[in-house]
């Protein structure tokens, strides 16, 4: 069992918010490792926050348990391109237990695909779409996985390290309101 740092109680802070938290409260990452010894690759810390690295096949199973453990707020989903692999990081917070938890998935660079969490946390919907849009990670089981910030038909995923910055892309709005992307600007010409 690991005891990790808590924020310091301020001198003017109401008692009660923190008094509920015992000093030896269980580290949620360690708890997950005990519950799913096969699914959790390792448990550690990400600067004061408990971190668990999960096998990608077991994400939905573990995430369901994470929700049961009281982590009701999904702060952010981050996709990172490490050239040889992709990592997807989920930052959770629990309003009831006042705890943080970080889950991390490591994906193959050739086929980055992981299950969607949008069925458990509705807020994951747009965050996953954004990760798909900018980093190019596919979320299987997502109800509406399409680009959110960039126009449909955009070439490449900008936050990948191999994204070609020299391609110029021109976007116009077509007659039915759909986006038209071209690389030579022909769609900008008026006819």
């Amino acid at each position: 069992m690991v005891v990790w740092d808590y924020p310091v109680e301020g001198k003017n802070q109401e008692p009660g918010i923190w008094s509920k938290m015992g000093a030896e409260q269980m580290n949620p990452a360690e708890e997950l490792k005990q519950l799913f010894p096969d699914s959790v690759i390792s448990a550690g810390l990400q600067i004061k926050k408990p971190l668990a690295i999960i096998k990608k096949e077991d994400l939905l199973k573990v995430a369901g348990k994470v929700k049961e453990m009281g982590f009701d707020h999904l702060s952010v989903i981050t996709g990172i391109d490490y050239v040889d692999r992709f990592e997807v990081v989920y930052n959770f917070f629990s309003y009831t237990k006042k705890q943080n938890l970080v889950l991390k998935i490591i994906l193959d660079h050739n086929n980055p695909e992981v299950s969607s969490l949008s069925s458990i946390w509705k807020g994951a919907d747009w965050l996953e779409r954004e990760t798909y849009d900018l980093v190019g990670i596919k979320f299987s089981g997502h109800p509406n996985l399409k680009r959110i910030l960039l126009p449909d038909g955009w070439i490449g995923h900008p936050l990948r390290k191999d994204y070609d910055m020299n391609i110029e892309q021109f976007v116009t709005v077509g007659e039915d309101g759909e986006d038209i992307v071209s690389t030579d600007g022909t769609n900008l010409l008026r006819r």
Partner: protein
């Protein structure tokens, strides 16, 4: 009776979308059956830009995210870098930061109130709101020369100390503002038409609000007693006395009232910060020759080297920005540039809840609910 559904396009250029945002509304008569949001018209690729700038160079880009309240953006990024590299900041700088953050919270809520009332058809409040905002902007101008994009809070501290005469002007603003908030309440809160437009509109259950990832004042209007300033105290907030403003109704009116209460709390924090702030210690110029070197330690900033390489690692750091939880996820690979910056913007995540919130309402109610979510499109699209 079953009628044909009609697709209505609202935006991207529409006065009540506060920028460029497009709603695709499937209407059944006057009732919204489905609301789809199209965004990205203001996408500037800030996260990609961050990978090409050094840690210090990225600070001005954060100003352009939520341009109504730029100090919290500066601070959220700065806090992430400081947490990553373990930089200690002088106490006086922390107090100056808190003063700017809380002033900016008031400015943000004034703009929000003004534009909300303007969207509902009452143009008085935006005049009043912008009148008081002007006073705050003059304070910002005094502090750093800029009125909206400050580049003032930076890793290691703040850019320069407060000028002479800032504190008296600030006190004047606080005393003035105290009365103004009462005026606003008299003008708006009890107004029959306003209440009719706001009460019971855009209702969402607490569970749903949390599940959709809403944060900040919008979530506190749903009865969640949470505030990152209390939960994960940062800066000097643990030494300041303030309460978390919560309303339980979960409708547009509750979200509006939270803003009014928060402005009062911000004034309360400002008063304490001014009282408790340590005096500036004179910095010996002799140590540096004629003038202080760029990046040198002063009373309000610690030494921050020009070639700054934090240790490899990653951090997610969040603050309670006026609109909600603003977080920066920074990955460092030990070089002078960040490997990856992810911005968790409150506007983007709060907007997720809108389609669910407005189902079954009418278009004027969409505007009322959308106004109380308080979205800035620079923050949504990044």
């Amino acid at each position: 009776m079953k009628t044909d559904e009609l697709l209505i396009n609202m935006g991207p250029v529409h006065p009540s979308t506060h920028g460029v945002l497009r709603f695709k509304l499937t209407m059944d008569g006057e009732i919204i059956r489905k609301c789809e949001i199209v965004m990205g018209y203001l996408h500037r690729g800030t996260e990609k830009l961050g990978e090409m700038k050094t840690y210090m160079q990225f600070v001005p880009y954060t100003d352009r995210l939520d341009y109504i309240s730029a100090f919290p953006n500066n601070y959220a990024y700065t806090k992430a870098v400081e947490e990553l590299a373990g930089i200690e900041v002088p106490l006086r700088a922390e107090y100056i930061r808190v003063i700017t953050l809380e002033l900016n919270r008031i400015v943000n809520h004034l703009v929000m109130l003004g534009s909300l009332l303007l969207d509902l058809g009452a143009s008085t409040m935006i005049m009043y709101g912008f009148r008081e905002r002007e006073n705050a902007l003059q304070l910002f101008e005094m502090l750093c020369g800029a009125r909206m994009t400050f580049n003032y809070i930076r890793p290691g501290g703040v850019r320069e100390d407060m000028p002479e005469g800032f504190i008296p002007k600030l006190n004047e603003f606080i005393n003035d503002m105290e009365k103004r908030i009462d005026d606003y309440e008299q003008l708006i809160s009890g107004n029959e038409i306003f209440m009719g437009r706001m009460k019971g509109i855009g209702v969402m259950s607490t569970q749903d609000a949390i599940n959709y990832g809403m944060t900040g004042p919008s979530l506190r209007g749903h009865g969640v007693n949470y505030d990152i300033r209390k939960l994960e105290p940062y800066s000097v907030y643990p030494d300041l006395d303030f309460k978390v403003c919560v309303r339980n109704e979960g409708d547009s009116f509750a979200r509006y009232m939270v803003r009014i209460d928060e402005m009062r709390e911000s004034l309360h924090i400002l008063r304490q910060a001014v009282d408790q702030m340590p005096q500036a210690k004179p910095v010996s110029l002799a140590k540096y020759g004629i003038a202080p070197m760029t990046g040198a330690s002063t009373a309000v900033s610690t030494y921050f080297p020009r070639i700054f390489t934090p240790p490899p690692g990653e951090v997610y750091s969040r603050i309670e920005a006026p609109k909600g939880e603003l977080g920066f996820y920074i990955v460092s690979d030990g070089t002078i540039k960040p490997y990856r910056i992810k911005i968790r913007s409150p506007s983007f995540c709060n907007l997720t809840a809108i389609p669910k919130m407005v189902e079954g309402l009418m278009i004027p109610d969409l505007i009322a609910a959308f106004g109380t979510i308080d979205v800035v499109l620079g923050d949504v699209d990044r």
